[in-house]
Amino acid sequence: MTKMKTKLKLGLSAAAFAMVVSVAGFTAPAGAAALKMMFQGDPYEIDAISDAAKRFEAANPGTTIELIHTPHDSYNEKVGAAVSAKQLPDILELDAPFLSNYVWSGFLQPIDSLIDKKLLDDMTPSNVAQGTYPPDKKLYATALIDSTVLIYASKKQLEAAKIRIPKGVDDAWTGEEFQAALKTLSTQPGVKWPIDLFRAYGTKTEWIPYGYEPLLVSAGCDLINRDTWKATGTFDSKACVDATTMMASWVKNGWVVPQSAGANQFYADGRPAALAWGGFWFYSEAAKALGDDLLALPLPKFGPKGASPNGTWIYAISKTSSDPQMAGKFLSFMIEDQKYQEAYKAHSAYPGLKSFGAASPLYAPGGPMAVAFEQAAKTAVPRPPHPAYPAITLAAQVALNNILDGADPQTELTKAAKAIDADIADNDGYPPFGKK
């Protein structure tokens, strides 16, 4: 009921907005455009984006960029609401795994021909992959950055506890070694929790499937079978039950920072959390507190092969854009803007452009985060690029969160797998998917 109310209200304001736009369009000079961009981000990103937009407006008289900053929590739901209210902006930032759903839903357009050729050639393969819709292999989104997750540790602490420090991705900790390390660390003085899995990020973000799926993949299963697009038999398989039982045992042992303790226990006073299973963005805040003592290590191998996540927030152009050419021009301008890139570099942004990678000493060979680059090249596994992703992520979040809270793994995973398969069946397999 409430929802319908909102929808109607949005619809009415959309109508009002359309009237304003048509009047404005009538008076605007030729070659000018009024663009809207919906995005999310930290305060430094808002500044960087606003400044880039101002510079673009100065360079293109008559064109205006209206920025719609939207909070990170529940962002994907807001995109859905904007689409159903026909209030889509020209440019929208989106979370990479949702791309397939959005393209399938039909409100994005390919950007290959809209953005700079130079930018196109500069994108890393992983960046291209996260912006590509598999059925038509066209590029729908781009960004300056990409992402990965690492284990952060204190060098001194590991040495004091006589825990082996991996040199690179090839000699990453095995599952047994990792669990032994947690056990050892739990007895070290001052350690309240051996690891922070960032449960504080909660279920309103993509953290759970993003941060934890690699563990499942490495242990030999997945959220969904990527050939048959069926979750039953994969997400509820023995490998996943065992892997999630293992994760739940860490929580049960009191090794994991609880959800309500916040996301700063790794570097808070007295360093209550010994390790942190965190995204690239965590590096800059942790480095501020730990300095040279901070170690970035590859994610452990829970089976024969390691796995790590990729994908981040990327920019796409909507089908309803009033001026797609200008939107593409602005996107290229913003991403290639020097000051914009500097702002991201200062926050340990993980490069999604080759040129940006070469200019980031942090990620260069020998740099403190070099292992992140190596890991992305060797073990990155994107989240399932399927239009059912909203249903997949919802089911996975509920199941994994409940299991960590002590629910029975088999029951939860069976329920989740059924929910995913039911959603795919409800949508007749999301054609053209499932038709090989």
């Binding site: 319908m4 109310k5 159903s84 249903a391 409940n402 949508n427």
Partner: protein, 279 residues
């Protein structure tokens, strides 16, 4: 004169509600796509989903806890500020403050108070019990999560009921109290036999309104727990939000909305019947 009100109410309440019924019979998605009529499938799916029943049980538990706590506290405070005590206007204002604070802000503040293991509330518990009671993971433990939500909800919202009670109290003629006093009635007797009967209509209103509000529990849950841990704080509206906005199933969410409407309507009717004037 009534026309503007009628237009606004029908545009924002009636039309959307009536619209959600046909939508609930389709598999319409949040992001518009071709959809088809699915009959009562959505209703069957909701009513056979154990998570929905858990959510319904949770709001029932919540209502059973929050209505007495919130209304009882509101009545106590209303009695207090109805006295001729010094600084009465200050207390009236101060006690009403939480009610005009946005629930979102209240949630952020209480989220900090509830922090585990070193939040202020846990420090108070530790201090009062001389460290015997360990820190409680208020929102992270299925046993304490719902009572914690009850506590903060009652604290935020009691101001409204307090004002309604205060108005009710001021409607009770002073001569009734005077007569009771002359008859030698004690304070308790005056409360029991003059105040409570005098508040009868107010009570009915407050109980029904509070129950309806309690059944729509959402904001606190969405901000603080998202229904966790292990669905212990999941509510019907949170469930509706999740299937509609996160799962993108508008048809299914509309079916939940209709079911919730019917449930709330039935409860209000039963309450009215039970509390009806027997004279």
């Amino acid at each position: 004169m009534l026309l503007p009100a009628c237009i606004i109410i029908s545009a924002f309440l009636l039309v959307p509600f009536v619209m959600s019924f046909p939508i609930s019979l389709t598999n319409q998605r949040l992001i518009p796509r071709p959809y088809r009529f699915v009959g009562l499938d959505n209703y069957v799916q909701v009513l056979t989903d154990p998570v929905f029943w858990q959510a319904l049980w949770n709001v029932t538990r919540f209502t059973a806890m929050v209505v007495p706590v919130q209304c009882g506290f509101a009545l106590a405070m209303a009695l207090l500020i109805n006295q001729k005590i010094p600084g009465r206007n200050f207390f009236r204002g101060a006690l009403f403050l939480p009610a005009i604070t946005s629930m979102t802000v209240v949630c952020v503040i209480w989220g900090t108070l509830f922090q585990f293991p070193t939040g202020p509330l846990n420090q108070i518990v530790g201090f009062l019990t001389l460290g015997m009671a360990g820190p409680i993971d208020w929102l992270g433990d299925p046993r304490s999560s719902m009572p914690a939500i009850v506590l903060l909800s009652a604290w935020q919202a009691y101001g409204f009921q307090m004002v309604v009670y205060l108005a009710g109290l001021q409607n009770i003629p002073a001569d009734l109290y005077e007569a009771a006093r002359l008859d030698g009635a004690s304070t308790w007797q005056r409360f029991r036999f003059v105040t409570l009967p005098g508040l009868r209509q107010t009570n009915i209103f407050v109980l029904i309104i509070t129950t309806i509000q309690a059944f729509k529990l959402f904001t606190q849950i969405n901000i603080l727990t998202q229904g966790g841990p292990r669905d212990s704080t999941n509510t019907v509206v949170q469930y509706m939000y999740t299937v509609g906005f996160v799962g993108q199933k508008l048809g299914l969410a509309s079916a939940v909305a209709i079911i919730l409407f019917v449930i709330v309507l039935l409860i209000s009717l039963v309450q009215r019947y039970v509390l009806r004037d027997r004279k």
